[in-house]
């Protein structure tokens, strides 16, 4: 019969499908019984895949955490931002803040057996400066690194950088084995002195990175688990499902999915890291004359009912603010928090004084993910006679379009870091988000003071903050609550200025 082979194929397919369906059932959702022994494993849902395990390719914020499993950093940043010894036991600047002398531990080895010493530290810093990583700018101020003796190095600076110690607790401070730096191998398998080593066999690209506790690790205090797994979950729905079904112990959600997590009795470790609002870039009125007038910029600030916007856009998970600097930065002040309270009448009066009672037009590019915000502020600006034109933006050329002065104002979300970091991100003439290079001698003097301020940089940055708020360089709307959720098997301490806590902040729940 001619149907023979087809019938056979059909039978084969059918039996395969039956075998598949027969496998259903028996999956174990995570549950935690009270009185159960302390967990020895930690599984974290991460929002992004690690690009390369080369420490010079490490990033900030959520993307720093996985590197902390494999690598120690020179300086440890505590949850409250205090800098403590780690591989560096002590460090101090010279009088002009242009040379940083760093003392190093002598009892540390890397997972490949290489010894950590001054030469190794220099090799790492030199590598970081040339490896073209996403944070290579962290060491821009460092001109060279000198080995003083086996456990001392000196970082020579071309100009003071008040953020340098902070950077040495971040990507720039991660120390990899000098034997592995620059090799192909370290891209897929980290070689550091950190509390955990990668289980290469269990690690799958784009899915999970698995680490096990390193034997004889020098700092048992921060090695709290036997196994740590980073599960890559780029999709918010997937993260929510993985958390509430017990597949991961902790992950980053948003206000809406957070409600679902709370329904499943997950705990919130909330934190404020970013601010969102308008950056009124063309403050000299080069392309949009109205923006050159401080009264117009102030009017824009008075137009926003920030409380309502927070309730509508973030379901209340944020704090209205008028200042671009973060609460823990040292530059934040109470008096600037509600500097521009909602006052449409005052806004209209200011526009009239500025000679723009007939109206102002403001162009902003549309950025994916900001549709709701744009709709709300468009309406509120309209109420005081300002027309908001929402144009198109191509995400991949967004930053180069900004530096090419293509936009006179933008609505965006920005990281609130250390004051010097924030200044160089949005205020100084070197800042990407100051494309028109706006400045005044008065502002420049305040910025210079911060640069040379050393330990007082935060306090001195309050003056910079005050200036840009009064001059309405921006129209900040609110700081966003980061919705980091975890289950009751573990305890989590939030880390300032990070949406995702440092790895050291997790411990088994008692």
């Amino acid at each position: 019969m001619k149907l023979g082979p087809k019938a056979a194929a059909a039978a084969l397919i059918l039996s395969t499908s039956l075998a598949l369906t027969a496998c259903g059932g028996g999956g174990a959702a995570g549950s935690n019984n009270p009185g159960a022994p302390k967990t020895t494993t930690l599984t974290l849902g991460t929002v992004q895949e690690i690009r390369s395990w080369d420490p010079a390719q490490a990033h900030v914020g959520h993307i720093l955490q996985p590197y902390q499993a494999a690598y120690d950093s020179l300086i440890l940043r505590e949850p409250d931002g205090k800098l403590s010894p780690m591989l560096a036991t002590d460090w101090k600047y010279n009088d002009t803040n242009t040379k940083l002398t760093v003392d190093l531990r002598t009892d540390v080895t890397f997972s490949d057996g290489a010894k950590f010493d001054a030469e190794a530290a220099k090799a790492n810093l030199d590598h970081f400066k040339t490896a073209n990583g996403p944070q290579m700018a962290q060491l821009t101020a460092v001109s060279d690194v000198a080995v003083v003796d086996a456990d001392t190095i000196e970082l020579n600076l071309t100009q003071p950088d008040p953020s340098l110690e902070y950077y040495l607790s971040q990507a720039a401070g991660l120390m990899g084995s000098p034997k592995a730096l620059g090799t192909e191998g370290i891209k897929t398998e980290p070689v550091g002195s950190g509390p955990y080593v990668m289980d290469k066999a269990a690690t799958v690209k784009d899915s999970q990175s698995v680490f096990t506790a390193r034997k004889d690790y020098w700092n048992k205090d921060i090695q709290k688990f036997e196994k740590v797994t980073f599960k890559t979950l780029t999709d918010l729905t997937a993260r929510t499902n993985a958390l509430v079904s017990g597949q991961v112990d902790a992950t980053l959600l948003d206000p809406k999915t957070g409600k679902q997590a709370e329904g499943a009795k997950m705990k919130l470790a909330s934190n404020q890291v970013d601010w969102q609002g308008l950056l009124l870039l063309d403050r000299d009125g080069t392309k949009n004359a109205a923006l050159g007038n401080v009264k117009v910029r102030q009017a824009i600030n008075y137009a926003f009912d920030r409380k309502t916007i927070v309730d509508q856009v973030l379901l209340g998970q944020g704090t209205p603010t008028s200042q671009p600097f973060g609460k823990e930065s040292g530059a934040w002040t109470e008096e600037l928090e509600n500097y521009y309270s909602y006052d449409p009448a005052k806004a209209k009066a200011l526009l009239k004084e500025a000679g723009y009672e007939t109206g102002v037009t403001l162009d902003v590019p549309a950025v994916p993910g900001f549709e709701t915000q744009l709709a709300v502020i468009k309406q509120q600006l309209n109420d005081i006679g300002i027309t908001l034109n929402v144009g198109a933006a191509i995400t991949n050329t967004y930053t180069s379009d900004i530096s090419a002065q293509k936009f006179t104002s933008i609505l965006f979300s920005l990281f609130q870091g250390e004051p010097w970091v924030a200044t160089n991100q949005i205020i100084s003439t070197k800042a990407l988000y100051n494309p028109f290079k706006n400045t005044t001698p008065e502002l420049q003097a305040k910025i210079d003071a911060v640069e040379k301020g050393g330990k007082d940089a935060g306090k001195l940055a309050q003056e910079v903050n005050k200036y840009v708020v009064e001059q309405a360089w921006f129209a900040p709307l609110y700081r966003v609550n980061q919705m980091y959720y975890h289950n009751s098997k573990i305890a989590v301490e939030p880390q300032i200025q990070q949406a995702v806590p440092s790895l050291y902040n997790y411990s088994p729940a008692s």
Partner: protein, 313 residues
């Protein structure tokens, strides 16, 4: 037959070539900020220039295209701009996941859609009405919504399946089956309802043909009429709709893989596209075009095998 296959493969290569030019040009337009996106907000112009030179972004588009093309012809698809991972190895680890899922889903669609479609066409009456209503409902719910509903009920509430993939090296077939079960169901419902509709109408059309009446008048049994003659004539319509579904599924699977966190082509394609990671996007597009060409060729050959009338010379 051989010349037919060679001709089709030849036109396939032309299609590959044209698509590669189109996609490359589109990516060129959006590659302005690549160095900045890799190096971050605070990178200096000098650092950006070094990165641009390293990636060859300082070259004109034609030079860049030919360097990609000569590499691709040698089998070297380059490496990701963002991760430095060779594109070929990225594809090699992800294609098995995606293709397993697509293959299982398509096989099940073919079997279930045929059974339902034939049943509706032969029985008519209430069976047909149930199938018709089911088809409208199944067609109107997008696969990813089905996926989310399945996860909520079967994974989170009942705990039968993992909510997101547990596929890793060394895990057994059971982990693969459990991880793929829900995504496959989410993928196949639209296919089954759509396929059943097409097969139903094709079978009905054949059943009304004169040759069926003739066969029946000669006393040939209903079963033989249906399986030996009607189904064979109705098969080309079914195969065509299945092949279209498979090609459509290559798009749908991207979203399903994101929801279930499967390490397949989906996350790779989404990440690469949103970053304009040109070598990876080119690799993904080339792979997709090859799959489409091969599927179309196989469907044409199968059609010829099933139905000599459409057999090509």
């Amino acid at each position: 037959m051989i010349t037919f296959i060679l001709k089709r493969l030849g036109s396939g290569i032309v299609v590959l070539f044209v698509v590669s030019i189109l996609v490359f040009s589109l990516l060129y337009v959006s590659s302005g900020s690549i160095a900045r996106n890799i190096l971050g907000d605070q990178a200096t112009p000098e650092q950006l220039a070094v990165k641009n030179a390293e990636l060859g972004l300082d070259q004109p588009i034609l030079a860049r295209y030919f360097s990609w093309l000569t590499g691709a012809l040698r089998g070297d698809l380059g490496a990701s701009w963002f991760t430095s991972e060779p594109v070929a190895s990225s594809l090699a680890t992800r294609i098995p996941v995606t293709m397993t899922m697509v293959f299982v889903a398509m096989t099940l669609i073919a079997i279930i859609a045929t059974l339902i479609g034939v049943a509706a066409a032969v029985k008519r009456g209430w069976v047909d009405r149930v199938v018709q209503i089911g088809a409208i409902i199944g067609d109107s719910i997008p696969g990813f919504v089905i996926g989310i509903i399945l996860v909520t009920i079967l994974a989170i509430q009942m705990g039968f399946f993992p909510a997101t993939s547990t596929i890793a090296p060394g895990v057994g077939a059971d982990a693969w089956a459990l991880s793929l079960a829900l995504p496959v169901i989410a993928l196949l419902i639209n296919g089954v309802t759509g396929g059943a509709q097409q097969i139903r109408s094709a079978v009905i059309k054949q059943l009304e043909r004169d040759y069926v009446r003739t066969l029946r008048s000669r006393g040939i049994g209903e079963r033989e009429v249906l399986f030996k003659h009607v189904l064979r004539s109705a098969a080309p319509a079914g195969l065509t709709v299945l092949s279209l579904q498979l090609i459509g599924m290559l798009g749908g699977v991207v979203i399903i893989e994101q929801i279930f966190a499967l390490p397949g082509m989906g996350p790779l394609a989404v990440a690469a596209t949103s970053q304009s990671d040109q070598p990876v996007v080119m690799g993904v597009v080339m792979y997709t075009v090859v799959v489409v060409i091969v599927v179309n060729l196989i469907v044409d050959l199968l059609n010829g095998w099933l139905n000599p009338k459409v057999r090509v010379s």
